[in-house]
Amino acid sequence: MPRMSGWMLSVAVIVTSAFVAEAMAAEFKLSGDNTKIQFEGTKEDGKHTGSFPALSGTFDLGDDPTKAKITVKIEMGGLESDDPKLTGHLKSPDFFETAKFPEAKFVSKTIKADKGEFKVTGDLTMHGKTKEISFPAKIASKNGTAMLSSEFKINRSDWGIVYGKGKINESVKLTIDVNAK
C-alpha cells in the first residue's frame, strides 16, 4: 500500500506540474487593436511610413520569455500608408503584389536572452518567400498583459521586392509594439 501511494503521488505531481506549466504560459490573442506593426521606407529625398493593421495571431508567454512562442499572420491587402496613392502602389506588383501574395506570416523559432533584452529568431514569409530573421525585443508580462516592443531593419530584396533599386533604399525599418491582454 505505501508503494502504491508513492506511485500515485508521483503521477499526481507530474499531472499537476503539467497543468501549472500550461497555466503559466498564457496564450494572448493578437489583433490590429493590440499589436502595431509599422514600417518606414526611405529614399534619397524623403521617407514614407505605413502599417499593417489587419493582422491576427497568438503570443504564448509565461514567466520565462525565452519559452514564449509568437505567430502572426498579416493580411497584406489591409496595409496602410501616409499617402493613399502610395498605398495602392505598395499593393501593386512593384512591391508586395498583394493580389498574388495576400498574406505574410511570422513564426518564432527561438527567443534568447541578450544583454538585458531578448533576441527573437523566426521565419518571416512575405511576397512568396520565407527567410529567417532575428531582431532585438523587449518582452514582459505584467498584470495579465503581454508586452513586446522592437525596432529593427530588414532588407526588402531578401523577399524578392527589388523594384526601384537605387531609387528607393533596400533597408526598411520595422517597429513592433504589442500590448495584449
Partner: protein, 284 residues
C-alpha cells in the same frame, strides 16, 4: 504634385530610354547601311527590337527572366516569342498567304491563353483570354494593313508614340511604375526602329506581333493588379487601340484615308485619348 525628381529622370534616360532607343537604332541602322535585302533588314529589325527590349528589361530588373508563370511575369518571353514567330513565318511562308495567316492566328491564340492570361482566370473568366486573343489578332492585322495601305515608313514611329504614349500614361495613372517602365521601354524600342525606317524609307512589316501581344497583356496585368480607381474601360481601350484601324481592310475607306493620312492619325488617337481621359478623371 511633387517636384520633378531629376535623378529619376536621369536614371530612366540612362537605363531605360537610351538602351531601348539606342540599341534598336544602332542595329537596324548598321544593317540598313550594309544590305538592301528586305529579308536581312526584316531579320535585323526584329533582332534589334527584341534585343533593345530584353537589354532594357534586364538593366532595370522589370520582369524576371527566370520566372516562368502565366501572367505579367511571362510578358517579356511572350513578346519575344511572338516577334520571332512573326519573322520566321513571314520569311518561310512568304508565298503561302493563307498558311501564313493561319500560323499567325495560331500564335496569337496560343500566346495570350498559355502565357499572358493567369491560368486561374481561364476557367473562371473565359472572356478574358478570348478578349486577349481578339485584341492581339485585330491589333496585328490592323497594323499590318496600315503599313501596306499607307506610307508605311512612318508607321512604327506613329505606333510607338500614339499607342506607347497612351499605354504609358494609363500605367502612370494606375500607379504601377514597373508596368509604366515596360511601356516606355516598348515605345523606345519601337521608336528606335521607327526613326531608322523613316530615314531609310523602309517598310517594316514584321515587327507588330510583339507589341500586338504585349500591350494587351500589359493592360490585362495592370487591370488585375491595380488598386487605383481607373475604370476597366481605360485598360481595354488601350489594349485594342490599333484595332480601330481594322476598317482599313475595306478598300474604299482605305483609299480615302490614303489621300487624307493626317485624318488617320487623328482616328488612331481616339481610343488612347478616351482611355487617358477616363483614367485621369478617375485619379486626379
Amino acid at each position: 504634385m511633387p517636384p520633378l525628381d531629376w535623378s529619376i529622370v536621369k536614371s530612366a534616360f540612362l537605363f531605360l530610354i537610351l538602351p531601348g532607343f539606342g540599341i534598336a537604332v544602332s542595329l537596324l541602322a548598321i544593317t540598313a547601311a550594309v544590305t538592301r535585302s528586305e529579308n536581312h533588314r526584316a531579320v535585323a529589325a526584329t533582332i534589334a527590337f527584341v534585343a533593345a527590349f530584353l537589354v532594357g528589361n534586364g538593366l532595370n530588373g522589370l520582369v524576371p527572366f527566370a520566372e516562368f508563370e502565366s501572367g505579367w511575369r511571362s510578358l517579356v518571353w511572350a513578346m519575344t516569342f511572338a516577334a520571332l514567330a512573326e519573322l520566321l513565318i513571314g520569311i518561310f511562308f512568304r508565298g503561302a498567304a493563307s498558311l501564313r495567316s493561319t500560323l499567325i492566328v495560331s500564335v496569337m491564340l496560343i500566346i495570350p491563353i498559355v502565357w499572358v492570361t493567369p491560368w486561374g482566370l481561364i476557367g473562371t473568366k473565359p472572356w478574358i483570354p478570348a478578349l486577349m486573343f481578339l485584341a492581339a489578332i485585330l491589333n496585328q492585322i490592323s497594323l499590318r494593313r496600315l503599313v501596306d495601305r499607307l506610307d508605311g515608313h512612318f508607321v512604327p514611329l506613329i505606333v510607338a508614340i500614339v499607342w506607347g504614349g497612351s499605354a504609358t500614361a494609363v500605367m502612370v495613372l494606375s500607379h504601377s511604375a514597373r508596368f509604366a517602365d515596360l511601356s516606355i521601354l516598348l515605345s523606345c524600342s519601337l521608336a528606335g526602329l521607327g526613326v531608322v525606317a523613316a530615314l531609310v524609307q523602309q517598310k517594316l512589316r514584321w515587327i507588330f506581333a510583339g507589341p500586338a501581344v504585349f500591350i494587351p497583356g500589359l493592360m490585362l496585368s495592370a487591370a488585375l493588379n491595380t488598386y487605383s480607381d481607373i475604370p476597366l474601360a481605360s485598360f481595354i481601350l488601350v489594349a485594342i487601340s490599333p484595332a480601330i484601324l481594322v476598317f482599313l481592310r475595306w478598300k474604299k475607306l482605305a483609299d480615302w484615308f490614303e489621300t487624307h493620312p493626317k485624318s488617320l492619325v487623328f482616328v488612331s488617337l481616339i481610343p488612347g485619348f478616351i482611355a487617358v481621359g477616363l483614367a485621369a478623371r478617375a485619379e486626379m
